[in-house]
Amino acid sequence: MRYLREQGMEVLERNWRCEHGEVDVVARDGDCLVICEVKTRRSSGFGEPVEAVTFAKARRLRRLAAAYLAASAAAARGAAGGTGGRHVAEVRVDVIGILCRPGRPAVVRHVVGVGS
């Protein structure tokens, strides 16, 4: 969370759910809506954290992004909310891999714009 704010993003939602699944973080980076999947691993024995995001999962994240937009647009008609009432120019899907091995500082890897 702190990492995302340091990157200049505004976190809108955490663990947002709908019938398709759950989004870990929804944030806004300027005019861009960011759908963010966070993966944490204690070791790289099963591969890098970001490697756990397969093609199928990336596709689901895209679907979730669309679902979130639709939901927030409906919400915006009712009351200001969702995207914060501001216009969204583009949407992107990010994956953040966090490798926190015991006794060592956590390593964060932020993959911007997955599956595009």
Partner: protein, 515 residues
């Protein structure tokens, strides 16, 4: 380093023709992904699945980013696992594990095992030949293929046992240590093989003469006779009287062997002409070359510069015999498949052996033959006219009489070989100024029918009469002339006389002609 571009070189083979390929790897920000583009076949497209574990075991893991590999020119099909090593080197160059640019001009060939070892591949000799022609100076090949790669002049060959070793070389090269060249193999004199020898054959003077003429002028040969008289024995001994191959010829035959043989089979230049004897159940694809997708060389190309022996020739499928016609004329075979057209050399000496009839006893008066006339006719008809028209020498091999046992053994191969080599040299000198043909069998007919090689009409009178009577085609006429020239070369004469022409005619039509 997460963003990077790495490049190295390799070779794509289409038949024996190699095309230099630039292997480019690009590492971009993104989810881990490893794709190979540029028309890889399934084996080549699986390279990422081998490279990832091989690199991890070798201590230089493939970075978990988006990796795109392109094999350029992208429009040429790439076959086989031989691109594993170049792709791995390009990716590791892009990731920085191999210092920048060092591998750019080095040609790599080799398949990777999951534990990082480099495995041998097919077709290293033609690939390295193509690389040398394209100006490459350094070639990294699997250690099993070092022998054949070193046959090529002008390139430094490096034999790799593992990916870790190759990465280590480049790490050392950064500090100015050149890539270690593979040790030149200690030249072990080939053991003198006591193979078959012409002295083993009992009697058969006519067949021996035909064999010698075939070896001298490169004339195709048909031997017909009952079973058990030594047709197969004679044919197997034809290679023992052929002169050894030149270096260029040997490279051509070894290039084909490198594509079809066991990996690492080619280690040194063997100057013995190849002898290939396909079984009569062989398919068209196995004889002429072919296969689905990949067109591999067939028996006729493996017999390039050597002998193709078809035992029981009438038992071969008609379609197989027909495919021989075009290569017999042109010396090469063009195989067209949906994806590509490949051309293999196929200048072979054809030796056919046939029984006179299905039961094999229709010799002499044929009293013991149990075949119906119809069977004999259809049996003989299987060797088609157009094919036999290309066979200069047709001899009957009669049963051996007991008296022949008593004779001193026939001439050994070495004696005949010396005669053949002298006659070959005479041919080479004669044709060097006029067209550069190596043997009489390759000289076009119109050259023999015109001055300065036209024979006086009293010499060819017998031949002219056969042509007039329609017993010979014009192509047959030319072929008799060629055999006559070979007979003259064997006899040490400048120009063929009546005797030589008569010999040629007798051996062509299988009939005795009074000289």
């Amino acid at each position: 380093m997460t963003h990077g571009l790495g490049r190295t070189r390799s070779v794509a083979l289409a038949g024996l023709e190699g095309t230099p390929v630039d292997v480019e790897a690009h590492i971009a920000q993104g989810l881990p992904h490893f794709a190979v583009g540029g028309l890889p076949d399934p084996a080549c497209a699986q390279a990422p699945d081998r490279i990832r574990p091989a690199a991890a075991v070798s201590g230089v893991p493939v970075p978990p980013h988006r990796i795109t590999v392109n094999l350029s020119p992208a429009s040429i099909p790439k076959r086989g696992a031989g691109f594993d090593l170049p792709i791995a080197v390009a990716v590791l160059s892009a990731s920085g594990a191999i210092p920048g640019g060092l591998a750019r001009d080095v040609v790599h060939l080799g398949e990777l095992a999951l534990d990082g070892r480099v495995r041998g591949v097919h077709g290293v000799l033609p690939a390295v030949l193509a690389a040398a022609r394209a100006g490459a100076e350094h070639v990294v090949v699997p250690v099993e293929n070092v022998g054949e790669a070193q046959l090529v002049d002008g390139v430094t060959v490096h034999g790799a046992t593992s990916l870790r070793e190759v990465v280590g070389w480049y790490a050392a090269a950064q500090h100015g240590t050149p890539l270690p060249p593979a040790p030149t193999p200690s030249v072990v004199p080939a053991p003198v093989r006591s193979g078959p020898d012409l002295a083993d054959v009992v009697g058969q003077p006519e067949a021996r003469l035909a064999l010698e003429l075939a070896a001298t002028g490169g004339h195709h040969l048909l031997m017909s006779g009952p079973p058990g008289v030594g047709k197969t024995m004679l044919a197997e001994r034809l290679v023992t009287v052929l002169p050894p191959l030149s270096r260029e010829q040997a490279l051509e035959t070894h290039a084909i062997r490198s594509l079809t043989g066991q990996v690492g089979e080619v280690v040194e230049l063997d100057r013995t002409p190849p002898f290939v004897a396909p079984h009569h159940s062989s398919s068209v694809a196995s004889v002429a070359g072919g296969g689905s997708g990949v067109a591999l060389p067939g028996a006729i190309s493996r017999a390039h510069h050597g002998v193709l022996f078809l035992d029981e020739a009438p038992e071969f499928k008609g379609s197989v015999l027909q495919t021989l016609r075009q290569p017999l004329e042109s010396g090469r075979v063009v195989i067209a498949r949906s994806r590509q057209v490949v051309c293999y050399p196929a200048r072979f000496l054809l030796v056919l052996a046939a029984n006179p009839c299905p039961c094999g006893r229709a010799y002499g008066k044929g009293l013991e033959c149990t075949c119906k006339p119809m069977e004999i006719r259809s049996y003989a008809g299987r060797l088609s006219g157009p094919l036999l028209d290309r066979v200069d020498l047709q001899v009957h091999v009669p049963p051996v009489q007991r008296a022949a046992f008593g004779d001193a053994t026939g001439e050994p191969s070495a004696v005949v070989k010396a005669r053949v080599t002298t006659a070959r040299e005479a041919q080479r000198q004669r044709w060097a100024q006029h067209g550069g043909w190596a043997t009489n069998g390759l000289v076009p007919g119109h050259v023999l029918r015109r001055a300065p090689f036209r024979l006086p009409s009293e010499v060819t009178a017998l031949l002219d009469r056969s042509l007039d009577r329609g017993r010979l085609t014009l192509r047959g006429y030319d072929r008799v002339l060629r055999v006559a020239w070979s007979a003259a070369d064997l006899a040490g004469r400048e120009v063929p006389g009546r005797d030589e022409v008569a010999t040629g005619l007798a051996l062509r039509t299988g009939e005795l002609v009074a000289a």
